[in-house]
């Protein structure tokens, strides 16, 4: 295999889109399935999802949320019960029309999202205030037919996600839940994936179909485009009324309940690849890396091997006992250089090199993946690796924060906006709140309102488009 076949053949800077696809495939995170629009996760890719899942599960559980299971098939009649919601999803729904050779009367949709199904059940399960709050999360997939080119983790017709659905006795409690979830999303993405996010509300135009309002977290990707990282919706009573999710209160009077729904998907993995990867391949934050440390023993003959391997095993065992996820690459017939490239492609956060000379010097060479820095570490200090991994995690977030800040501009003049939008990035620009201005800006620049950051409301600037009194300073950007 020539070097071109193994390594990434384009640079991240020159051809971001092709670079991304090559990283996904060559780091063996995912592959294309035989059906257009669908992908498969290989173990290294799925392991990152499992790591996120575990983190979310712990935080959800602390917040009183438990997991359940919903089937993938929803009857057409049920999906159509909340009309606006249905209209929003209808064009992308996969329809099951036959089982074996039998035609199915009421066609079955593959779940694009589960509000209608979950709330049909909730209306049966909830009778009194004693049954509330009801908070259930579902780890499943959603299916929405994509007609544009497949992009692993970012644009696929089936995607892994979690969808949470909670029910409350009061509006206040439900709205608190919306914010609590958004907070969990934000700190998980920042702490685990080392990606900074901006949180706030979606505009009316961009909110979830059926929600009263949608809160969101958005990130800037290195190519200047915005990516929606997760959303948490306040549904009010928009679903509880058609689905009759009602409860008898302590005074025995019946009320419609207040609801929320929220989700993040494997798109977060796509964001992580884009945010941190480089021309050598994937770069993984230590917290979610399936392998955090790889040891490459280096020797030329059996004598060298006998010197090196016992120490390698000792270090491996010591770090394993500290719950470091470690691998030793003692594959025969492959050069150290080949192995270095291989593990760099896979994004393993730290490499340890040990040869006979290192044994003499009683130290190892450590190479950090994210900045390619090398340093020597004495055998006696080997446990410092735990601290170094923590530092890597922290530094990766700081670097991403700096990049993010550089790509964010406060802007008051529409002509300047139009001239700079081509370069990408987040544009904080005052807005009057009218749909008309939002649509005109989209039409003329390709930029949407990604998020109206919390605290940016009620400004006394002028709308960047119409010059009227502004209501907020949303983030405008072109998106994925």
């Amino acid at each position: 295999m020539s070097k071109e076949d193994v390594g990434i053949t384009v640079s991240k800077k020159d051809d971001f889109s092709e670079w991304y696809t090559q990283v996904v495939l060559k780091a063996k995170l995912a592959d294309y399935a035989p059906v257009k629009g669908l992908i498969v996760l290989r173990p290294d890719g799925y392991s990152i999802w499992e790591s996120l899942k575990n983190t979310f599960d712990k935080k959800f559980a602390k917040n009183g949320i438990r997991n359940g299971f919903l089937p993938v098939l929803i009857p057409e009649s049920l999906l159509g019960k909340e009309q606006k919601h249905f209209a929003g999803f209808n064009p992308e729904v996969f329809w099951v029309t036959h089982s074996g050779t039998n035609e199915i009367g009421d066609r079955l949709a593959l779940r694009p999202t589960s509000e209608t199904l979950a709330y049909t059940l909730y209306s049966k399960w909830i009778q009194s205030w004693r049954d509330l709050p009801l908070k259930i999360n579902f780890w499943n997939t959603a299916l929405r037919a994509e007609i544009k080119a497949t992009k692993p983790f970012l644009r696929t017709s089936e995607f892994l996600w979690q969808e949470g659905h909670t029910v409350h006795t009061t509006q206040e409690e439900a709205e608190k839940e919306v914010m609590k979830i958004l907070e969990i999303y934000k700190n998980t993405v920042e702490e685990e994936l080392a990606i900074p996010v901006t949180t706030g509300k979606k505009s009316e135009k961009e909110k979830f179909v059926g929600a009263v309002y949608t809160t969101t977290m958005e990130s800037i990707m290195p190519d200047g485009k915005a990516l929606q990282m997760g959303t948490s919706h306040f549904l009010g009573q928009n679903f509880s009324k058609p689905f009759e999710v009602k409860f008898a209160d302590k005074d025995n009077v019946e009320h419609f309940a207040w609801q929320t729904s929220w989700g993040v998907s494997w798109r977060l993995i796509g964001a992580m690849i884009m945010a941190h990867g480089d021309d050598q391949g994937l770069v993984l934050p230590p917290k979610v890396a399936p392998t955090q440390v790889v040891i490459v023993p280096i020797y030329k003959n059996d004598e060298g091997r006998d010197k090196v391997i016992p120490k390698v095993k000792e270090i491996q065992e010591k770090l394993e006992s500290k719950d470091i996820r470690i691998q030793v690459d003692d594959r025969q017939g492959l050069s150290p250089g080949y192995k270095f490239n291989d593990w760099e492609m896979k994004g393993v956060p730290m490499r340890i090199e040990i040869g006979p000379k290192d044994i003499e010097k009683q130290s190892v060479v450590i190479a950090k993946r994210y900045n390619r820095e090398k340093l020597n570490l004495e055998f006696n200090n080997i446990e410092k690796i735990i601290t170094i991994l923590d530092e890597i995690q922290k530094n990766m977030l700081e670097n991403a924060q700096i990049q993010s800040k550089e790509n964010t501009k406060n802007i008051l003049d529409y002509a300047e906006f139009k001239s700079k939008i081509e370069d990408g990035g987040f544009f904080n620009a005052p807005w009057c709140g009218k749909l008309e201005c939002e649509e005109k800006i989209k039409e003329e620049t390709g930029a949407d309102i990604r998020v109206i950051p919390f605290g940016s409301e009620n400004t006394d600037s002028k709308c960047i488009y119409c010059g009227e009194q502004s209501q907020s300073v949303p983030v405008f950007a072109r998106g994925y």
Copy 2:
């Protein structure tokens, strides 16, 4: 609500099928979805699945198996590539024919099982011996249209399961893997769910379509019927040839690989409900119980409450620190009797009652769910609860083993077989190995060969049907 609404209204002995359904629904494990054949898991039901999943994941990981993700849609052309396999599943396949309003050319099947999809990918991923063994497991659902009445966990058109798919360089290694997995299945079901199983091979007639042979584990349910608890298949090269799963060996010669596939489903939860439940509801083995211990404080007034609650909290904290999953039921306005029934219905393995008198005596009352035994435990000995839970787990398995033994008969005479089959149970009966006898027995008694136990081969008895030299002593039984 009247007592009838809350409790189980039939006895396990008199109407097993109705009893089962009531336990599932009233213990709030699952509910029916709006589409016939589909069910939903509520948090208590899903939690049992999560517990099994965690146990299997740990054992799989130790065995070098990692998890991946496969999409639910498989093109018809691909599913048909291994003809016998396809014919086996074809009548139960759900077909997707449209996305939005567009008709799809090559219809898409909802995965009935993933061999064809996985092996299409494996053939791309595997080039050399270095890539083997490849061992990936997928936690997903399978979809097979059920026309018979829905039975939660036992007969549904979509079910949660895991399917593992491994690839090896040699036949020997693959066959070892088949047995290793069956062993993991057996010890997990026995140790976690307290259900004894009989392991062995399926007959040619009953094996997985496409396998060289199928190994299985089977259990007797209290109604005398057999339940298949899990299967592990040796696929030989039956799939590697049509799907071109090939590898270059060290000598650079290409070979077809040797494969296995294996799975268990949420049917295991159904088996657990049947094996242990009683007329008061569900009975959970402690290891998989979402709540292992419930404390019911008993008091009549605020004075009593002030006496009891501090001790309740102390016990709760002590046991939580030992990783016991514990809940306190201090709901107001519900009688202790109501609460007892409620937690018994849910199958919580142990209840602790504490009232003011117990405080005086410095002890609590403990009630075991599985045998309804009560005992006193002094405050000082409260950590003994951990041991008692272990004993409950052990005793539940022993009881199930005794039941199983009672329901197993060695039989040499066909007339006796026919007269006793109506009572149910496992019948160990010698068999010549011919399909004809197997089919005749099925026709005349309704009993299948469930499993040919390991070690029962090469007997010198006479076939119970034709009187010829027997080859083995299979377990015959009527099944689910």
